[in-house]
């Protein structure tokens, strides 16, 4: 036993890499479990807000429902409709899920806890978010079905429009923190969370975030009452499951980003005394936003496609630009060079 420990102390680089790997795996598993658990959370919260119970039969508070659903979806026939473009059809949900997971890599969940500590973390994330559209677009196209195609078209237009200002809305934060590194951004929020100086940035980013993970009211790509299920109409079994869980990972991700960029990340009272609290604060803040997204779904109808695009280009984009210019002006005037 002690020989093994000795070996590890003798090879510090290897040990560090191993610890990083373990941490990464823990975060990854934690993320997927959270996303799966969110399905339960969403159904229970919707039930609460809609005068009904939601799943409450399997396990305590119906928590076992998620496991039951997972088992079911894993054992479903892996059905490939005969008319689809096979390779693309299979790859699309993989992209959806993988990219969402990849984006989470740059997020610090607690001091020193995070998969990757990258100086251009935020940029990497935006770049991956740009690729995310391919998953749904390819899924919609490869399905060779009209409903899926319409869903794919909608999602492409929507994501492209909303990504324009999604990146821009964060530039205020980057300017203030002076870094693209999310850990630095969290550090920089010592004393004042960016929600105060960057309120408009927060608003537009939150909207863009919902739009990019296409949740209500931006769920036009799957708009059940119009397009049946939109881009994933032809999907079933685990391939559907990946789109489905991918969406929930997306919600966790957007919540985590909002928390990290605008709400001080893992910062909160008493973390100096009890360092473990850092993660608790982070999780609680995330939970708040996750619940908020569910509340949005419970409360809002769905705008029409052109109204949605109009809102993006005519309201959000100008607002973002004003915020950007405003922040730049304030920083210039108050900065050391002024």
């Amino acid at each position: 036993m002690s020989a093994i420990l000795d070996w590890f102390t003798a090879h510090p680089q290897f040990t560090a890499a191993l610890i990083a790997c373990v941490k990464a795996i823990v975060i990854l598993l934690g993320l997927i479990l959270t996303a799966a658990w969110m399905i339960w959370l969403e159904r229970r919260l919707l039930g609460l807000w809609q005068d009904r119970y939601g799943p409450n039969r399997i396990g305590p508070f119906g928590l076992g429902q998620v496991i039951a659903d997972m088992i079911k979806i894993f054992f479903k026939e892996d059905w490939l409709p005969p008319f689809v473009d096979k390779a693309t059809f299979v790859i699309a949900p993989l992209i959806a899920m993988a990219l969402m997971l990849l984006m989470f890599a740059v997020i610090p969940v607690a001091p020193g806890w995070g998969v990757a500590d990258l100086n251009l973390g935020l940029l990497l994330m935006m770049a991956i978010a740009g690729l995310e559209v391919y998953a749904v677009m390819l899924g919609g196209w490869a399905s060779n079905s009209k409903y899926a195609l319409l869903g794919g078209l909608r999602v492409t237009a929507q994501t492209v429009s909303y990504e324009v200002f999604m990146g821009l809305s964060l530039m205020g934060v980057v300017m203030q923190a002076g870094s693209f590194n999310l850990r630095d951004i969290v550090e920089a929020q010592h004393g004042l969370w960016y929600i105060i100086p960057q309120f408009f940035g927060f608003c537009t980013f939150a909207i863009a975030g919902v739009a990019v993970v296409h949740r209500t009211p931006f769920d036009l790509p799957e708009a059940e009452s119009e397009l049946a299920s939109g881009f994933h109409t032809e999907y079933s079994g685990m391939k559907f499951g990946m789109f489905f869980v991918g969406e929930y990972v997306g919600i966790v991700l957007v919540s985590a980003l909002l928390v990290t960029l605008f709400f001080g990340g893992w910062r909160g009272p008493f973390i100096e005394a009890v360092p473990a609290l850092a993660f608790v604060w982070f999780a609680l803040k995330c939970l708040f936003f996750m619940s908020f997204f569910i509340l949005l779904r419970a409360a809002l109808p769905r705008p029409r496609y052109d109204q949605l695009m109009g809102f993006g280009w005519k309201v959000c984009l100008p607002l973002t630009l004003i915020n950007l210019l405003g922040t730049a002006a304030v920083l210039l005037l108050s900065g050391p060079g002024a």
Binding site: K146, A223, R297, A299
Partner: protein, 594 residues
Amino acid sequence: MADDGKQAPVPEIVQELFNRFGENSFTVQHTRDGMPTLWVDKTRIVEVLRHLKTGVSRPYKMLYDLTAIDERLRKHREGQPPADFTVVYQLLSIERDMARPYGGDLRLKVALQGEFPSLPTVTTVYVNANWYEREVWDLFGIVFDGHPNLRRIMLPPRFQGHPLRKEHPARATEFDPFVLDQMRQDLDQEALLFKPEEWGMKRGTENEDFMFLNLGPNHPSAHGAFRIVLQLDGEEIVDCVPDIGYHHRGAEKMGERQSWHSYIPYTDRIDYLGGVMNNLPYLMSIEKLAGIKVPPRAQTIRIMMSEFFRITSHLLFYGTYAQDVGAMSPVFYMFVDRQKAYDVIEAVTGHRMHPAWFRIGGVAHDLPAGWDRLVREFVEYMPKRLDEYQKAALENSILIARTRDIAAYNTEEAQEWGVTGPGLRATGLAYDLRKARPYCGYENFDFEIPVASHGDVYDRCVVRVEEMRQSIRIIKQCLENMPEGPYKADHPLTTPPPKDRTLKDIETLITHFLQVSWGPVIPHGEAAMMVEATKGINSFYLTSDGSTMSYRTRIRTPSFAHLQQIPAVIRGHMVPDLIAYIASIDFVMADVDR
């Protein structure tokens, strides 16, 4: 309203027609419902209809119904021209009707000879004759010359025969067992494929191809088995073809094989959200034929229960409407409220959605003890909930943006397409049968007719919401002023018949026995009664040949007319607008297809 037998003065419009076309062009028929009924030669029908639509003052703008009767087995045709088949046109002039109750009705009949007769189409005069003529061709085999697209509408394309003809059996047991083999399935499916050319549509222009999107018959927003094929340019609807008939179950044919009494449960399922409201026009027509006068208590009970069903139907509309524009939650609240209403309905009638509770001459039982407490609880509970929904759903800015000025039509267009009910009132015309020609005692109630002005999707919802408040008002008045007295008429044809005297003398016992086992024999004649149902004007046009069963049961439903209008309204809109529009029509396919 003239009762049969008494010679009524010649109605104004009949005199006008006599003056214009000569008295010899027409044969007057007296019907039990007192509706002016004229027989016209088939060569002149188009001319006469055109005159009625454009040539008279206060014109007949609406072709309310168009149907046919197979006359070949009918015994009692006194005073009517000889005919193998009759095509019946029922017109409605809302202007005339609002000036004088029942003043706007006119029925024209065309006598036809031969096995598969033909007559000219009237689609050139009334556009909405299109579907009605297709239906008559489909079910009777009567050909309309010059019809733009005379093909089956209710039955599948490969169906053999015309089921409303008398030689067509009413029961499946009279046919060989149905076999669906692979070949037949393939052929049937092939026949259902949409071919744009059959509808005069192009597959594309020089620069682009259109997408033909098959929406339904299984689609979450199609509200039942309804198929609509969209010709799309991007997401914009260039044109569309509604395809109905998936829910056709031959309700009219069943009317010819059930006793008058045992058909009541079938009527519940016509507009399956309307419950006992559907019983009402059917029973009112029978009562008109039989000359039964319904006692006030029974009438008030009928009104109360009908208004309960108006509320449950509108609540379902309200919830699904919000759901179709993407709001997820309201439908759950409204289902809770519906349940509260159904609790009352269940306590009174014993069933929830389809109580089949009205009877010839009254209702099935008296109100149960304690009914007033239940009803009072409901009328006190419901308005508060409606106020909440006002904020939660109706005033939501996204919802307004989705529905304001979408799929709007004006009063003229509405009449052109035979639109009635909230869809008509949303255009600003306060035409409600409960006020215009009060039936069943509605004249004794104090309520208003909600109207709106834009005639768009949003207004149709606003009108319905306000109608719920008015229904609550009516129910409250029923609660406070429920008359005492019998819940069934004291008339030999009341069904089930009064039983007090049956065990005392043999004659009453025999009558009772026959009436219960065979069913009542309703005197021969024709009557059509309309009611303001949940979705528009609903009527049953009954022809009795003096038997225990109806000779012909024609059910005119509002939803049929409303669906026919869809292409005219939705061209140029986008797919989500169509969904909002479909939601605002508030149809059920059972009501369309019968």
